[in-house]
């Protein structure tokens, strides 16, 4: 296992974990751009652009891109979030050269008008699909309520109106403001010929013109409150709650992640024993959302409408108890054991290693190996856990509930 790194003259970063024993290779372009970099007029453009990247270049039609991805037997996809857009593919090692060329090419898309209008319909279908799926816009709502006017409160998908209003020209000008090679990292993991990789990327991407995309990473001014969204034809009630959390570079994020596991893992956690073992809820959990400059801890519960008000009270009481009485050493030890095991299992998949490397670059961290990450989690102390609890009080939160209940109130 060897970690390799190179920077092209135009600023494109190349990072890879090369493992000659691996059976596959995974690659991805990680672009530091997402919903937080949009204005309201172009809301949803990052995600729409992610789709358009697969729609062809001056060298390839949309159909050709799909054909070639399949011809390599690649497992490929893309995703867009609040602050990143990722294009990735896993292949057998023999396809390294071909997949790198293809991924590089599609990163300079044509945005042809016919493809643009057809794909716009797909995006609108995607928005409608999520409208039918729990928690029915609850996530977007809790983000926008919690972050307020801060850019992290902006929706990734956008709305039918905002997406309908987008044009190839507005998308291209967004592209030209964001897709600078200096704002992009190419990450790889698995059986990789690194020297060849650098040579190929230099050939395919070396001529991309660099510029300096900005991004405000000012800390958000989090808001608290209680919002009820009425969704009469939902069977279950959904509760989403956001409290302040660490940003993606704060050292305390590791202790906070362990804390989230202790309180909200899907097995053996405080929420598990309170809500899941007892059957008081269909699902319950807690997890961290860390971004540049800001972060959140989100708790969620899905339960039957008639239990929702009591469950809100139980959640508040549980948070209060944790704040008053803290966490036990035994809980910490079990959580660490579990995390260590998850790290080993995840590290065996080249795809997940590639994501880990790319994600570390996105948050401007220095690279950490699997062993280093495992050691950090192993070293978390009870004092650090309690410091995280003090720093990020869970009871100061924004709560959004969605479902058939009309009269839910914040617990006293």
């Amino acid at each position: 296992m060897k970690y390799r790194q190179h920077r092209l003259n135009n600023g494109l970063n190349i990072l890879a974990e090369c493992n000659p024993q691996a059976y596959t290779s995974a690659f991805g372009f990680f672009v530091r751009t997402g919903a937080r970099d949009e204005t309201s007029e172009i809301s949803g453009v990052s995600h729409f652009l992610e789709h358009m990247v697969f729609k062809g270049t001056p060298n390839r039609s949309a159909a050709q891109v799909n054909l070639e991805l399949d011809e390599m037997g690649s497992s490929s996809n893309a995703r867009t979030g609040e602050e990143s857009t990722i294009y990735h593919a896993a292949v057998l090692p023999e396809f390294q050269g071909q997949i790198v060329e293809l991924l590089s090419d599609i990163m300079r898309p044509s945005l042809r008008i016919d493809d643009f209008e057809t794909e716009k319909q797909v995006i609108i279908e995607e928005i409608k699909m999520y409208d039918d799926q729990p928690p029915y816009g609850g996530y977007e709502r809790v983000m926008s309520e919690f972050f307020g006017k801060h850019p992290l409160g902006q929706s990734v998908l956008g709305t039918v109106d905002s997406v309908s209003g987008l044009t190839p020209e507005s998308m291209m000008s967004y592209f030209e403001e964001r897709y600078s090679p200096s704002n992009i990292c190419f990450a790889g993991a698995g059986k990789i010929d690194f020297d060849q990789l650098v040579e190929d990327l230099d050939k395919h991407c070396g001529q991309w013109t660099p510029f300096s995309p900005g991004r405000s990473t000012q800390a958000a001014d989090y808001r608290t409150g209680f919002v009820s969204m009425h969704k009469p034809n939902s069977h279950q009630q959904y509760i989403l709650q956001m409290a302040a959390g660490p940003s993606s570079t704060q050292e305390i994020r590791f202790a906070t992640a362990v804390l989230c596991s202790i309180i909200g893992d899907d097995s053996g956690s405080r929420l598990y024993w309170e809500f899941l073992d007892s059957g008081l809820a269909e699902s319950a959990g807690m997890g961290g959302y860390d971004y540049q400059g800001s972060g959140a801890i989100m708790s969620f519960i899905c339960c039957s409408p008639d239990q929702a008000q009591e469950n809100l009270g139980r959640l508040a009481k549980l948070q209060q108890n944790i704040r008053n009485e803290g966490i036990t050493q035994k809980e910490l030890d079990l959580a660490k054991r579990k995390i260590a095991s998850h790290i080993v299992l995840a590290s065996e998949r080249t795809n997940s290693r590639m994501f880990s490397i790319g994600a570390q670059w996105l948050s401007e961290e220095s690279f950490k190996t699997v062993a280093e990450i495992a050691a950090i989690y192993e070293s978390v102390t009870l004092d650090q856990i309690h410091e995280a609890l003090e720093t990020f009080p869970l009871d100061q939160n924004m709560t959004v509930t969605v479902g058939p209940c009309e009269d839910l109130v914040a617990p006293q």
């Binding site: 399949d70 292949v91 034809n233």
Partner: protein, 419 residues
Amino acid sequence: MEQQIFHHTYENGITLVAQPMPWLESAAFSIAVPAGCQYDALPQRGIANFVCEMVQRGCGELNSREFIEALESLGVDYSSSASLYNTNFGGAMQAAQLHDALRVYADVLQRPSFPEDQLEDGRSVCFQEIAALKDDLAQRALQKLRTNFYGSIEGRNCEGTHETVQSITLSDIRNFYDQHYRPNGLIIACAGKLDFDLLQTHVGELFQDWQSKPDPFVPTAPSTHGAEHIEHESEQTHIAIAYPGVPYSHEDYYLNRGAIGVLSGGMSSRLFTEVREKRGLCYTVFASCHTLKDKGAVLCYSGTTNERAQETLDVIIEELQKMALGIKEDELRRLKVQIKSGMVMQQESCRGRAGSIAGDWFHLGRVRTLDEVNEKINQLTVESINEYLAANPPQSFDIVTLGPQPLEFEANEISATQA
């Protein structure tokens, strides 16, 4: 890539089947207990699932909480579920803990204590699982489709209904356990960094005292083919379509699998191209092979806004019918690479392998090795697939739609409703 599969069947009928994956640091198990929801009596639908919940609420020396803590202290990422034929327990962990994890499950399977004070909590969890299905509109359409296609037993969901689960008593649960949890026909599949000889001895010691039991009677129920609409005020209309396929054990399985791969295997597949890429009708569209032990189906799904649902359905039906005309050489070439590449990628996950060798053993009584599957894939030709498609053209569709308005179709497209 070398692949070795070992197996051993003990005197009481348990089969241990394992694949050493020495390149990993982890190991996983997948246990299939022949106690699936096909055995649920009609008034007690959901009981296999309820028993699955209850055996994990106290076993051997462990109470409910100690059981979870035992797994957590071993770092086991565990899961359980009831399915039609089996109740499944699975776990993945660091390799050194595999033997200890299996020791915990030896208690789950042989020595559940069924504490009375856990019954109502367990029942509530089952109620939650029933409720969870109701907000998943795609699953609701597909579930109804499976019930129509396979009939009310083979096409059932394991969760049962609120009423049936409400009526189940602790003694019903004990009885179901006593009759159905048995070593004969039970499969323990393991994959990862393991030593088969040591594992065989260990599993033998853990389960050797368990006596085999007679196999219970399996009831059957007829299908109710045809078209059905479920009215729901939703943004999209959810379209689910089924037609006859072949089971995993059938000699034509890979011919059908190949055809469905062309239809829906990748980004250049026919459904993705025609429905999504060319017309922008949907975000999700797929077709997949579904298998029972002795029969199979092809299941298709798409979700699309209500105004465009009719066109989506029409295009899907047209593409399905067009399959009878055959596939092309370049489509098969791409498909072969995809299948092979997918098989190699599966070798990175002991969890995936444990599940898949358990499935192979259940359906075939043996495990298809990579080499064997490779050979079957290599043998696929355009001619052989097209011959299969000409003899078995996609037709007689069962259709379930869920949305505000029913859709229209030609009568001859629909499977005849059976009395």
